[in-house]
Amino acid sequence: MHYVCTMNVENAQAQMRKGVLEYCILAIINEGEIYPTDVINRLKESNLLVAEGTVYPLLNRLKTMELLSYKWVESNSGPPRKYYQLTDNGRLFLTELNKTWHELAHAVSINTKTLNTSQQ
């Protein structure tokens, strides 16, 4: 019984993270050209990322949607690296997401207010 609960919670948590991951990645890239490994490190610092492998297909999809573009940069250690940056479309997209996020955050905070106060 306990096991099943944990599984469900983990699944729900993963779903929540997945939703905001795209938003956060775009936000990080918005700060300037960046190498995926650094994106991963940033995400890990904030405990948002569980599976690193998730990032690559996501970046690829954002690139296909022409929200991102990348260029090759020579590296001192190892093969050349991809550096990602936002396209104009990407910046628009991020603005939209940002707006939605704030609306969501507001909605969430209203709806979970009782939950948070009663817990204390």
Binding site: A51, E52, G53, Y56, L58, L59, N60, G78, P79
Partner: protein, 522 residues
């Protein structure tokens, strides 16, 4: 011992051990499967490989050696492909990455000592086929009661299958799940591969026999044979496997049937062995030893066959010298015991001796002697006993047999004479003579013209069987008559006196002794 490979991942070269390589390859393949229909699949894989190379570099540096442990760590950092972002819905649905699945060609079996009850054999099988070990345990338990087949098999598997010790082995132990899809896939793959091979072979043959290639063929004959061998190898392997499987089943069956036979006859066999000990060997201890060793002589090679066929079929390459050596030693010991006992018993049959006695006869007034068979009542309703067979009398453990011969000769004077020759064997002449002297066989004249021949020789409960036999000579004077009962058919030895007679004339018919032998009176 682990094979080391070199791999180039994301443009960086690493050393990696074989099992770790397999793990990694499986992982990348599962990602590849997920993105196989996506136009950017290759790019995603490349990016991920790139990251894996970074993670490896962090751990071992350039040209460092990657182990299964590293790969496991990296896989857990990267996550399962089904958690990855999919381009469209369908990928998420159709492609899930389960616990690492290792296709090992069905050749890796390990015992799982972490989930064991006894030796972890069932747990290992469960892991290998992704079945709850409980079912396998149940199957074994059921077969335990089939005369211990399961027990025997379990012990053998325990001895053969190595324990999963390293992480890589523990991972390899976990095989593919058996379900319909999987079986179908295996069969399809096998058929495809076979078909391909046959096609290649056909092409090869076509090319080889086309005129332009004749010369080349001569040069490449060696290669050609090599190719044929290569093509036929899987076929041969399959045939060998089927054969080995057959040998395994047959051996198991024989061992089990023998086991059942021994178990079910346990009680009655006691008396059989007692009987054997009383009459042939020196007591039942010796009989026990002889029978046990004789059975072992026959069972041990079968166990050896079962052992090695299981080993072959499971593809276990573990050295089992200890087991084969002890089986061999045991077998040799049994052989020596059997030989020794054989010689001991054989010695008791070394010399032969005979004792001759003349029966006190009253001469028949009618000048005709009737020879009849006196049936010794058989406690067993077995009429199939022929001359040589030995039977056990269940009532008193005495031994009965039909080693009796009758010959009719011409008397030297005018009187009927009956001579009884008793023969037996022994470890020396005196012993043989003694053995011949002391077994009972009484021919009785019941009236002046009738001689009764007992149909069987009986040896008492504690007397030894030493190839005792009886020869009865009946001498008929010239011009006197004899009538032989047809029941004596089996006992009568033909000689010059009976030579010219057909059975129909010989038996139940008055015969007169003439100068040239017996002749019918009418």
């Amino acid at each position: 011992m682990n094979k080391l490979l070199y791999v180039n991942i994301g443009g960086v070269v690493f050393q990696i051990d074989e099992s770790a390589y397999q793990q990694l390859d499986n992982y990348l393949n599962s990602i590849r499967r997920k993105y196989q229909n996506s136009p950017d699949g290759d790019e995603i894989i490349k990016d991920i490989e790139h990251r894996i190379a970074e993670l490896m570099y962090e751990r071992v540096g350039e040209r460092g050696a990657i182990t299964g442990k590293h790969v496991e760590e990296i896989i857990s950092v990267m996550g399962k492909p089904e958690d990855f972002d999919g381009n469209t819905e369908q990928f998420e649905k159709t492609n899930t990455y389960e616990e690492p699945v290792y296709k090992t060609g069905g050749s890796k079996f390990f015992r799982d000592k972490e989930n064991n009850v006894l030796g972890g054999v069932c747990a290992g099988f469960g892991a290998r086929f992704d079945i709850d070990p409980l079912w396998i345990r149940l199957a074994f338990l059921v077969s335990f009661f089939a005369a211990g087949t399961g027990f025997l098999l379990y012990i053998i598997l325990w001895a053969i299958i190595p324990e999963a010790k390293t992480t890589a082995e523990k991972l390899e132990m976990r095989g593919e799940k058996i379900d319909i899809n999987n079986i179908e896939k295996t069969v399809k793959d096998g058929a495809k591969q076979f078909g391909k091979k046959v096609n290649e072979f056909g092409e090869e043959v076509k090319q080889t026999f086309s005129k332009e290639h004749i010369d080349k063929t001569k040069r490449n004959a060696g290669d050609f044979i090599e190719d044929v061998a290569q093509t036929l190898r899987p076929v041969f392997q399959t045939v060998v496997k089927i054969f080995v499987f057959g040998a395994l089943i047959v051996s198991l069956l024989i061992v089990v049937v023998t086991g059942i036979e021994l178990l079910t006859n346990w009680g009655s066999d006691f008396s059989e062995i007692q009987f054997f000990g009383n009459h042939i060997t020196e007591g039942s201890d010796q009989a026990w030893l002889l029978i046990t060793c004789a059975i072992a002589l026959f069972i041990i090679p079968l166990i050896g066959i079962i052992f090695s066929s299981v080993k072959y079929l499971l593809g276990v390459k573990r050295k089992t010298k200890f087991v084969s050596a002890s089986l061999g030693l045991l077998w040799t010991a049994c052989l020596l015991v059997v030989i020794y006992l054989g010689i001991t018993i054989g010695r008791n049959f070394k010399y032969e001796s005979a004792v001759s006695a003349k029966l006190q006869l009253t001469q028949p007034v009618s000048e005709t002697m009737y020879v009849k068979l006196q049936s010794v009542k058989l406690p067993l309703s077995d009429n199939s006993i022929v001359n040589w067979s030995i039977k056990k009398d269940h009532e008193d453990d005495s031994l009965i047999f039909k080693q009796i011969n009758i010959e009719i000769e011409k008397s030297l004077d005018t009187a009927f004479v009956v001579i009884i020759n008793k023969t037996a064997r022994g470890y020396d002449r005196a012993n043989a003579k003694n053995n011949a002297q002391f077994f009972n066989y009484n021919v009785i004249q019941s009236s002046d013209s009738v001689i009764n021949i007992p149909s069987l020789v009986t040896i008492g409960e504690t007397e030894k069987w030493r190839d005792q036999s009886v020869e009865i000579l009946i001498r008929v004077p010239q011009n006197k008559n004899i009538v032989i009962d047809d029941a004596l058919d089996f006992y009568l030895d033909h000689n010059e006196y009976t030579a010219g007679l057909k059975d129909i004339e010989l038996f139940n018919n008055k015969l007169k002794m003439t100068s040239t032998g017996l002749k019918p009176v009418n």
